[in-house]
Amino acid sequence: MIEISGNDFAREFETAAVELLEAQLARAPIREELEQSGWSESLWTSLVDAGWLDVMLPRNLGGLGLGLQDMAGVFTAVGRYLVPGPVFDNAVAAPLVVSRATRAEHLSNLIAGRTRISLADGAAGGQAAGTRPAVRNGRLFGAVDLVRLGGVVDHLLVVVEDPEPTLVLADVAATGLTLHRRHSFDPYVECASVGFDGAEFEPLFEDCPEDRARAAAGIAELRDAARLLFACETAGNARHMLDRAVLYAKEREQFGRPIGAFQSIQHLLAGLATKQTTLEAACEQGLGSWYSEPSRRYVDAATAKAIAAEVGRAVGEGALQVHGGIAFTREFPLHRWHVHALGLQGLYGDQRAIATELGNLLVGTEFALW
């Protein structure tokens, strides 16, 4: 359980999210849609109606104007209940960007119209810098290899770093934009590759030094937010798998007693619980320093994501082991969480990629330690 001292909103929103999801997932049609396609339009509508997208939206656009900390509990709930959809993109990325953008009108309109967007950022897929989106003569070129949920949205919020950092909006139906849906092992996250070949776009910032700095800060903030909230989502996901494994260990009997009474299973689960606790604590730390200076925010978000990458996978592998054969059948649902965690593991860098990134900063410069 992730707790942020002095913040009751996060807990309240989490409780509300859990209630909503329990109710929605109790409905057979939604469960069937999810099982068949990994997507349920009516589940998405219900969470939009519940106001998930409004929490961080500025008040002048009709939102609650709250912060990222307040959304943390929602993301752990998303992880625990395996909620599909571009929640981060619409409930976090769009509000963060719209509040920083100097040409925010188009994005405000999309938000007001409940148009779904996906964040298209080459950094999410660890893509080489030279292949990422670039603006040339007022048109968009390059590609983003990994756009989560690229197949269910109408607009892309594109991170551009060449020739200067900026953020732009692109309509997926624009000419010069091609979108390939990609086969995924995780039916809950349909992915797409997006190519830009002279595509039109709507700028969100002016082309002046001040705006470039604003955009650069916005991109950094987006990426920190992604790492931190995907860490929270992973924490929720892993919490679910760990809880299921503990429950199974209490119920499943072999050799005349619950398997949870065997020391090997006990210690396996206790090791996972140690990892899980560390992950939750690291998420708290990242959330707690969200409003600190950007370098502290960056380090704590990166650290939380690195720990999430390791723990999410390890808890899944351990939970599979505790469950034994049943876990490897498609009809037993555990694997959905595990495969989803594998996808989260790689987004914005796995533990080794982030450790190398941090290690280079630490070794190379007088980078602040604790």
Binding site: F185, Q254, T329
Partner: protein, 387 residues
């Protein structure tokens, strides 16, 4: 026990060359993705192999085998894996049921079952595990009521590979519920076409459906289909599991080497950093360790030292090696772990994710990691029994 002399290296090398040549000529069929079509192709492949003398290589010739050594058989397995050829369709019969049949079968049973098993005319599955008897196999509940002329079988089995395509099933069933649990079990050869047998395939998380549930409802099994002594099936089961462990480790190791080769080829096409070198080198070292263990397993088999607690060592090392190899491969997919079809990488992401998931099961099937560790602790190291 006398140790048979080892085979001449030159003879083995010649055999390897002839296998390689034959495999190059009779290029194995590219397997269709469709499960039904695939099993058809596999049956055909088995038949081709049998007609060409590549099945039952180390079986006695009086039972339709080639009468050669285990080393010969292993050479064909290795070359076959390297050529990318699939295993013969009747792998369960050949590697799991067959050795136990050879060891415990009566003359009549061998005459009836051995040759069709080898030729692939009759395929086999293995009915040991049950929903409530996984690691604790001896707690199985499938009953076979003893009658004058045979048995009446009732119960449920699970994790039965390829049961829906099998003609026969080697079933462990409780024939005396009043005895201690290890001592009331018999080993029955059950006709899968008999009335009362139902099969339900189980789709795995890899998307394949090789496992099945098998339901027996008052299935009549003739007395002549009892293998080994009445109520004495536990010994046969242990014999089967020991052979399964050691034989499986040998075959699976050859397959892992092929997976490694494919991974390496992709990395070579791609170019790579020093970090990849350490990972790919580590996987190589791990697989070399498995290869070294397999030489010892062959020696044990030649000296008739199977089953042995060292089979469990091999299985543990194999599972760890498989998980390490495919875990590394998954890591190399980077951010594309769950959406594995990626522009600009020559890694076969879809295959890697499947292999990874299959690898996670390697510490569960055929006796879980926990069971193997306990066997090693108690039987190899002689530690006191855990209570």
């Amino acid at each position: 026990m006398t140790s048979p002399a080892s085979v001449e290296p030159q003879a083995l090398e010649a055999y390897r060359n002839s296998a390689r040549t034959w495999l190059a000529d009779f290029a194995p069929p590219p397997l269709p993705q469709d499960y039904r079509l695939r099993t058809g192709a596999l049956r055909e492949w088995h038949s081709t192999l049998y007609r060409s003398g590549w099945v039952g290589i180390d079986w006695p010739s009086e039972h339709g085998g080639q009468g050669l050594s285990l080393e010969h058989a292993l050479i064909f397995i290795e070359e076959s894996a390297r050529a990318g050829a699939p295993q013969p369709f009747g792998a369960i019969g050949l590697h799991v049921v067959g050795p136990t049949l050879l060891r415990y079968g009566t003359r009549q049973q061998l005459e009836r079952f051995a040759e069709p098993l080898l030729s692939g005319a009759e395929t086999w599955c293995q009915g040991f595990s049950e929903p409530d008897a996984g690691s604790d196999l001896a707690s199985l509940r499938t009953r076979a009521v003893v009658e004058d002329d045979g048995f009446v079988l009732t119960g449920q089995k699970i994790w039965t590979s390829w049961a829906d395509d099998s003609d026969w099933c080697a079933v462990l069933a409780r024939t005396d519920p009043d005895r201690p649990k290890h001592k009331g079990i018999s080993y029955l050869l059950v006709d899968m076409h008999a009335p009362g047998v139902t099969v339900r395939p189980i789709t795995q998380i890899t998307g394949d459906a090789e496992f099945c549930e098998v339901f027996f409802e008052d299935v009549r099994v003739p007395r002549s289909n009892l293998l080994g002594p009445l109520h004495g099936g536990w010994e046969l089961a242990m014999h089967t599991l020991g052979h399964e462990r050691s034989g499986y480790a040998l075959r699976r190791r050859a397959e892992l080497e092929v997976s490694y080769r494919n991974l390496l080829d992709a990395i070579r096409r791609e170019g790579s950093g020093s970090d990849v070198a350490a990972e790919i080198g580590t996987a190589y070292v791990t697989l070399s360790g498995l290869s070294a263990l397999s030489r010892r397993a062959v020696r044990r088999a030649r000296n008739a030292e199977v089953p042995s607690p060292l089979d469990s060592v091999d299985k543990l090392a194999l599972a760890k090696g498989e998980q390490q190899l495919f875990g590394t491969a998954l890591d190399l997919l980077g951010s594309h772990r769950a959406a594995p079809l990626t522009r600009g990488t020559s890694l076969d992401g879809a295959q890697i994710v499947k292999d990874y998931l299959h690898g996670r099961a390697a510490s569960v099937y055929g006796g879980s990691e926990q069971i193997q560790l306990t066997i090693v602790a108690e039987r190899l190291l002689g530690l006191p029994r855990a209570r």
